[in-house]
């Protein structure tokens, strides 16, 4: 419908949309603003706070007084590590299911999805005990494994829906052209699926970065990612608003940026291709 909407209508919608958007975004904006204030100014009334001088003090303090860098690094290792591991397992699986579907392929996909439905608390106790007995508590390796497994179904599904869109004839053409299975996947499928693989990676990194059940249960300090580090502010330390804000801003900033890049793919990934 390319008819002209009236300017008035457009103006009203613009004002409404911006107000609501601003309201929803406000807590994040406020956190970011507060992170640039001194501790004393941060607890002032909103107007007084806004007009107080800006400073980077709380960022320095977070860096100095805590192992912020370590936790940040842990988050990176956990999210990127689990994503790469999941991709290595999922690309061949998705290739098989998309291009050589069998009678049970659909059941297999549904079953993979069903593992995602299992609530984490259902296996909390044995996982905790297994981790304890194998010395994996508070280890990055153990957590990478868990995050890989909990996100594997989503990765397989997303890749599957992307691969499905690649016409099988192109892969057959490659086969006729003398490509081996390896060459077919490496030179034809992968380059064509790069956008799909990239958005799968992005979504998976976001999910793993924000995962806040296993990371809270299975880590304490040395392998703790930012979720756990921020949770430690729930103690009275949290009353240091400026520092909490600075730590929070640093924890969410990378993901906000990645998330904005992947918003389109997000829908597809989180609905298992049900909504595109």
């Amino acid at each position: 419908m390319s008819r002209k909407t009236t300017q008035t209508r457009r103006t009203v919608v613009t004002i409404a949309a911006w107000s609501i958007g601003f309201l929803i975004f406000f807590p994040i904006l406020w956190t970011i603003l507060m992170s640039f204030k001194s501790e004393g100014d941060a607890i002032k009334a909103p107007l007084a706070m806004l007009t107080s001088p800006w400073s980077l003090e709380s960022y320095h303090e977070v860096q100095e007084r805590s192992n912020y860098a370590l936790h940040f690094w842990n988050s990176v290792v956990l999210s990127v590590g689990s994503t790469i591991a999941a991709l290595i397992i999922a690309v061949p699986a998705a290739w098989s299911m998309a291009f050589v579907p069998g009678k049970r392929t659909k059941d297999l996909l549904m079953w993979m999805l069903s593992t995602k439905m299992m609530p984490a608390v259902g296996v909390l106790v044995p996982m905790y005990l297994l981790f304890r007995d194998f010395g994996l508590l508070d280890s990055r390796a153990g957590l990478v494994a868990v995050l890989t497994l909990i996100n594997l179904p989503i990765v397989v599904w997303m890749l599957y829906t992307y691969f499905k869109e690649i016409p099988g004839e192109i892969l057959e053409a490659a086969r006729m052209d003398g490509a081996s299975l390896r060459a077919e996947i490496l030179y034809v499928l992968t380059p064509m699926a790069v956008p799909g693989i990239a958005s799968t990676m992005l979504l998976n990194i976001i999910l793993a970065w924000n995962e806040a059940f296993w990371t809270l249960q299975l880590t304490t300090s040395k392998a703790a990612p930012l979720t756990q580090f921020i949770a430690s502010y729930s103690s009275p330390e949290g009353l240091f608003y400026a520092k909490l804000s600075a730590a929070s801003t640093m924890a969410i900033a990378p993901i906000l940026i990645l998330g904005w890049f992947s918003q389109k793919q997000l829908v597809r990934g989180l609905t298992f291709g049900a909504v595109k």
Partner: protein, 290 residues
């Protein structure tokens, strides 16, 4: 459609994923079931004994369980109501042409990317804190008594926090669905003399129903296991006022060290989730055929 050669290759390539997920599903779950029939406390290791259905009996007859169940359902339904209704309205608004669509879209989506511990703490301290929070400041400016949200309305506060995180999700999905509406169909209806309201009711609503179902089912899966938000805001309190089932299981097993009771609770949670899952799987399974 393929040759035996490629089928063999396919089976080989799919097996690592299948085996890993199978182990991941069966081993811990089997252990949970096993533990749930044991008298097993982490403080007295080595004293495990068979308990039959005692753990289930104690877990299910405990007043805390019923409160947790009610809380879980309230939390799920409350968040669903806010996010679905809000999501539809917001999606309809954002689907209109206006200046700066990209920027507004980005602002609306942002909360989804905030990790649960951060969003819970930001709300708890910067907004809901009865002394220094934004709401307290506003109340004082208006000459009102500041309200201690997390002490007096803990569950409602948590619902608000969780709904804030999930509203972008429903909005985004419903907006995507709206944008895939067939424009020609709309125009055909207009030619047929359908008013804007009739078009909304007979074309847009049926089109959105499917996406709303998807939103409801997927959110339910996640909302049934809300944990971090409760841990960092109220610790399930005051009393059990904001304890849901995941938190109760956590408290039972890792705070009271009652492995048997916690496992029984875990199995109860699994059964609850499965009831929801069955509906979700049917839904997505149907979609797979198209």
């Amino acid at each position: 459609m393929a040759t035996a050669h490629s089928r063999t290759a396919a089976r080989l390539m799919v097996s690592p994923a299948v085996i890993l997920l199978f182990l991941w599903m069966i081993v811990p779950l089997g252990m949970t079931i096993w533990f749930s029939f044991l008298r097993y406390n982490l403080l007295t290791p080595g004293n495990e004994s068979f308990a039959g259905f005692d753990n289930y009996y104690y877990f299910l007859t405990n007043a805390a369980f019923w409160q947790a169940l009610t809380n879980t359902l309230t939390l799920v339904l409350g968040v669903l109501a806010i996010t679905v209704i809000g999501g539809v309205l917001l999606a309809l608004l954002l689907d209109q042409p206006f200046w700066g669509q990209g920027v507004v879209r980005v602002m609306v989506i942002a909360p989804f990317f905030v990790m649960p511990t951060v969003s819970a703490l930001v709300w708890k301290n910067m907004f809901m804190n009865p002394v220094n929070g934004m709401f307290a400041h506003i109340a004082k400016t208006l000459g009102l008594q500041p309200f201690d949200f997390l002490a007096h309305a803990p569950l409602a506060s948590i619902i608000l926090i969780v709904a804030w995180s999930w509203l972008p999700f429903s909005t985004l999905i419903l907006l995507t669905a709206l944008q895939s509406l067939d424009r020609e169909q709309q125009e055909a209806a207009e030619m047929d003399g359908a008013s804007p309201l009739a078009r909304f009711w007979y074309l847009t609503v049926p089109h959105l129903t499917r996406s709303i179902t998807v939103v409801v089912l997927i959110q339910t899966i996640f909302l049934l296991s809300v944990f971090a938000e409760i841990l960092v805001t109220t610790n399930g309190g005051p009393g059990n006022a904001s304890t849901n089932i995941p938190y109760l299981v956590y408290a039972q097993s890792l705070l009271s060290f009652d492995v048997g009771g916690g496992s029984a609770g875990g199995i109860v949670a699994v059964i609850l989730a499965n009831i929801v899952a069955i509906f979700l799987m049917r839904m997505i399974g149907k979609n797979l055929e198209t």
